[in-house]
């Protein structure tokens, strides 16, 4: 994978997904040590370019780079010359001229990472582009589930909520089906885009159908900032019809895992009881995020020709 970009999980075959997950397991071991640093990417530099607000993903990438000894620079795009009207291409060329070895990009426009990748020789890692893809979130969810369940093949995974605006759901769906899980989706009809079956999902008529006997339940964040067109009636009604509560989660297998990409809208897509409950693995996901990003950085930047 050396030298490649990571734009979308659709670009990775099942064996490559496995390679990333295997490497992430070694990285998680490094995270558990007293000295959480290995010299692997010494002398390489990484820029994180975030045009959309993010704490978790950005910190996670930056720590991943630092734990591998890369030099990491975070660009606060709100304060950058982008605000002075510089194009993404010019920003990219500037970074390249400074000798950057990889760029992590978060942007509100779908396809922004691909555009950047076309102007840059060095690897571009997509940290979320509009409603398109968020590959490292997909990888960390795969890792979290695999670590708890041993294998993804044959698992029933229910993804509940706003599929329309969710780049996370799209990346999860691609990764999970590619590794043999059976993915069911459910949510408000106005937020279920066409084409989900084409990605390998089974669209359930009701939330209950999707949840029944599931091994893994993922609730998506209701993206209020993307809900101006009145596609849903409001938080309370959303919670009543689609929110994950104890009764609904009980339809899944007793040992089902509960995942959420965070941040949480407590009381909307999930109750606190579920989010803080024994089946929730939200902080496993966060930890896995650092490990899989270390794995991705190693595989794209470290070694091989």
């Amino acid at each position: 994978m050396k030298g490649r970009d990571l734009l979308d999980l659709a670009d990775l075959g099942a064996d490559e997904l496995e390679t990333v997950l295997e490497a992430a397991a070694s990285m998680e071991d490094v995270l558990a040590r007293r000295i959480k640093k290995v010299p692997t990417l010494r002398g390489r530099s990484l820029v994180t370019l975030f045009f959309e607000p993010s704490t978790r993903t950005r910190i996670s990438f930056e720590l991943a780079g630092k734990y591998l000894s890369a030099d990491v620079v975070g660009v606060n795009a709100a304060a950058a010359s982008v605000q002075k009207g510089e194009s993404l291409e010019d920003t990219a060329r500037t970074l390249e001229a400074m000798g950057v070895d990889a760029v992590v990009l978060r942007h509100r426009a779908a396809g922004a990472a691909e555009l950047l990748a076309r102007c840059l020789e060095v690897p571009v890692i997509n940290a979320g582009d509009g409603m398109h893809a968020h590959p490292t979130q997909g990888l960390l969810d795969l890792y979290t589930v695999r670590r708890r369940k041993g294998e993804l093949r044959g698992l029933k995974v229910a993804i509940i909520g706003d599929l329309e605006h969710s780049r996370v759901a799209r990346s999860d769906l691609i990764g999970l089906t590619r590794l043999g899980a059976q993915v069911w989706v459910a949510g408000p009809a106005t937020l279920l885009p066409p084409g989900l079956e084409g990605l390998g999902a089974r669209v359930a008529a009701t939330v209950e159908e999707a949840l029944r006997e599931a091994d893994v339940v993922m609730a998506l964040r209701l993206q209020r900032e993307r809900q101006q067109q009145g596609l849903i009636p409001g938080g309370e009604e959303y919670a009543r019809c689609f929110g994950l509560n104890r009764q609904r989660l009980a339809l899944a297998k007793p040992d089902a895992l509960f995942l959420h990409p965070m941040p949480l809208n407590r009381g909307v897509e999930v109750t606190s009881e579920v989010a803080d409950g024994a089946q929730a693995v939200l902080f496993d996901q966060v930890r896995a995020g650092v490990a899989v990003r270390m794995a991705v950085l190693y595989l794209l930047l470290g070694g091989g020709n």
Partner: protein, 183 residues
């Protein structure tokens, strides 16, 4: 095609060498010291297991065994193709204050051992670290020397020393000298 030039050790010879190395390791034990073996992936791990078995026969003691993956510590990652796979380091005991014996199959430039030492000290601070290798073939590029050697083998740079182990390679157990194909 690699041309096999000579067989350096056969299974019996390897067994004798490992037995002698285990004796030496035990002899140099100081009172109050806690010994552990650490094999460098991959072949070093299997050789460390054999040494562990020999030490058990000698002393009726089970010394702990760790596995070190040095991929993340290599200094030649940029030049290596294909990209080395990362495997897990499994050292299930605290290295703090212990006497550790690093085990590898062939000692050559010393760069692997350098990386292994870096990896080890990131796990803690051992009291001392020694090095055991089945074959020392010379051509060091770093100031590193082994404490326990199965066999010293003078080699030319274009030769390769192959340690074949049934656990890794299937087939017979032997050490052979092969000629690197002309580029």
């Amino acid at each position: 095609m690699l041309r096999e030039k000579a067989r350096i050790m056969d299974a019996a010879g390897m067994g004798r060498a490992l037995r002698r190395m285990a004796h030496e390791i035990v002899e140099r034990e100081e009172p109050g010291e806690e010994l552990a073996l650490v094999g460098i992936r991959r072949r070093g791990v299997h050789l460390a297991r054999r040494l562990q078995e020999e030490v058990r026969r000698l002393t009726q003691r089970e010394v702990p065994l760790g596995i070190l993956d040095i991929t993340l510590y290599r200094d030649d990652l940029v030049d290596r193709s294909p990209q080395p796979e990362v495997h897990r380091t499994e050292v299930p005991f605290p290295v703090e204050g212990r006497r550790l014996v690093l085990v590898d199959d062939v000692l050559y430039t010393g760069r692997t051992v350098r990386a292994a030492l870096d990896a080890l000290v990131d796990l803690g601070r051992p009291r001392r670290v020694e090095l055991a290798v089945l074959v020392d073939r010379g051509h060091r590029e770093l100031p590193i020397r082994p404490d326990y050697v199965g066999k010293n083998v003078p080699t030319a740079a274009e030769e390769i020393v192959e340690v074949r182990l049934p656990e890794v390679d299937g087939g017979v157990e032997e050490v052979v000298l092969v000629e690197r194909p002309a580029q």
